[in-house]
């Protein structure tokens, strides 16, 4: 039974409402850090919000009447995926909900005659093919440790996940790169402007549909960064002070985010074959090595 008098019941609800804002701020920080890495000043951290508000106020140009519906579907499923995380629900369901959200975007992009949009959608499918198995394996390796697919079970593991699943944590790097549409794996449509596909999968969106898609993108980034923060779900108790897990988790997740930005700024774009091979080989090897290592430790200890 849900206890409605307890204030902590409402924390997940607040998190779900704030998710796009957290993601938007992360994108703003991303643009600022990227600018500093290129020795520029860069836009203010609130820049993504200005962009989204401006897009919302533009004259609507709808390429196909299904596109707004699918854009709202993309938004709904992204928020639902974040809600699954915030309420500590099933990780498998979370991965599949995220997949359906992506599919909404892909179908919307296929729903126009523009070749740019079509090729972008095909490449987005390849991106999904690359990262989804890795993300599933991350969930499975957490299952090996906690004995459950529930996000809330991560808190029952006696040690932080990062100390026993460090390689699995590293396997999240390519997943985050593909989802944030960062180099070297931004084949389907880069956040940066000029490329051979114009804007790739986003080409046919404009006005409020593009603003919605931006919101979904932020929610997805917030979801993955939030998931990464669960790799340190234990309070650190020093002699006198206790550092709450959310602070340590945020630092851990931001470290992952920063690694992605460094990779984005130091690598050119690679083709989809390299993306698929790299993500699968690196992701699978890291996760399998981690699980085998854990099993070997169990055998030695027994």
């Amino acid at each position: 039974m849900v206890d409605f008098t307890n204030l902590s019941t409402y924390i997940p609800v607040v998190l779900v409402i704030l998710a796009p804002f957290i993601g938007g701020l992360l994108m703003g920080i991303d643009r600022k850090i990227t600018a500093r890495m290129q020795s520029r000043i860069g836009p203010p951290i609130t820049q993504p919000f200005y962009d989204a508000i401006k897009l919302w106020g533009k004259e609507p140009f709808i390429a196909s009447s299904l596109q707004p519906v699918l854009a709202f579907g993309y938004f709904g499923f992204s928020v639902a995926a974040f809600a699954l995380l915030a309420f500590g629900q099933d990780m498998l369901l979370l991965v599949f909900t995220m997949g359906i959200a992506d599919l909404c975007l892909i179908v919307a992009a296929f729903n126009s005659k523009s070749p740019y949009s079509n090729i972008g959608a095909r490449r987005e499918l390849l991106g999904m093919l690359s990262y989804e198995p890795v993300l599933l394996l991350v969930a499975i390796s957490i299952f090996f440790v906690s004995g459950s697919f529930m996000v809330s079970s991560i808190f029952d593991v006696p040690v932080p996940l990062l100390t026993i699943l460090p390689l699995t944590f590293l396997a999240l790097i390519p997943v985050l790169i593909i989802n944030m549409k960062k180099s070297p794996f931004d084949v389907s449509g880069s956040g940066h402007a000029h490329q051979e596909l114009v804007r790739g999968i986003y080409t046919e969106f404009s006005g409020y549909t593009l603003a919605l898609i931006e919101l979904c993108h932020w929610t997805k980034v917030a979801l993955l960064v939030g998931f990464a923060s669960l790799f340190w779900a234990k309070d650190i108790v020093l002699d006198a002070i206790t550092i709450p897990w959310i602070v340590v988790g945020a630092v851990v997740a931001f470290a992952l985010f920063f690694i992605v930005l460094v990779i984005d700024n130091s690598y050119p774009r690679l083709d989809w074959k390299t993306m698929l091979k790299t993500t699968w080989v690196v992701g699978f090897l890291l996760i399998i090595a981690n699980i085998v290592g854990l099993l070997a430790r169990l055998v030695i200890l027994s």
């Binding site: 520029r40 000043i41 836009p43 402007a193 080409t203």
Partner: protein, 147 residues
């Protein structure tokens, strides 16, 4: 200032189209996007998609070949939008004046809001031109009549 107007002024996405310039002005426009001038600190992004652009930056004289492309790009941009003609050729046709294959300035094809003179226009004057265009965009956004 209303939130929407502020957001519009803070995030002008630029579409750059070359109507047949000598590339002198194009190089200067690209220079404005480099770290030295860093227009992204004003939220300006060079975007390739007319459907997502707010500002159309044009270089070179309009000619009979590409006037249809130019008109099409302009029509594909959603309101509110502004057009900047960069360089002498885009403003008036300059040395191509009265050539049989050119039409003159780009304003022969589409309405132009801001003219940036110079051969080639300097990055500073291009950034100035964008700021002038933004003042016009602010007036349009606040509902004033401008011609």
């Amino acid at each position: 200032m209303k939130t929407m107007t502020k957001a519009r002024l803070k995030s002008p996405w630029v579409l750059h189209f070359d109507c047949g310039s000598c590339n002198g002005c194009d190089i200067e426009i690209l220079a404005a996007l480099t770290p030295k001038f860093d227009v992204e600190r004003f939220g300006i992004i060079n975007i390739g998609d007319p459907k997502q652009a707010d500002v159309l930056v044009l270089t070179g004289p309009a000619n009979k070949r590409n006037q249809h492309v130019l008109k099409n790009l302009y029509d594909q941009m959603p309101q509110p939008k502004v057009v900047i003609a960069v360089g002498e050729c885009a403003c008036s046709g300059a040395i191509f004046h009265n050539c049989p294959n050119t039409l003159g300035g780009v304003d022969k094809v589409i309405p132009v809001d801001v003219y940036v003179p110079g051969c080639a226009a300097r990055p500073e004057s291009i950034v100035d031109g964008v700021i002038l265009a933004l003042q016009k965009l602010q007036k349009v956004s606040e509902g004033e009549k401008v011609d």
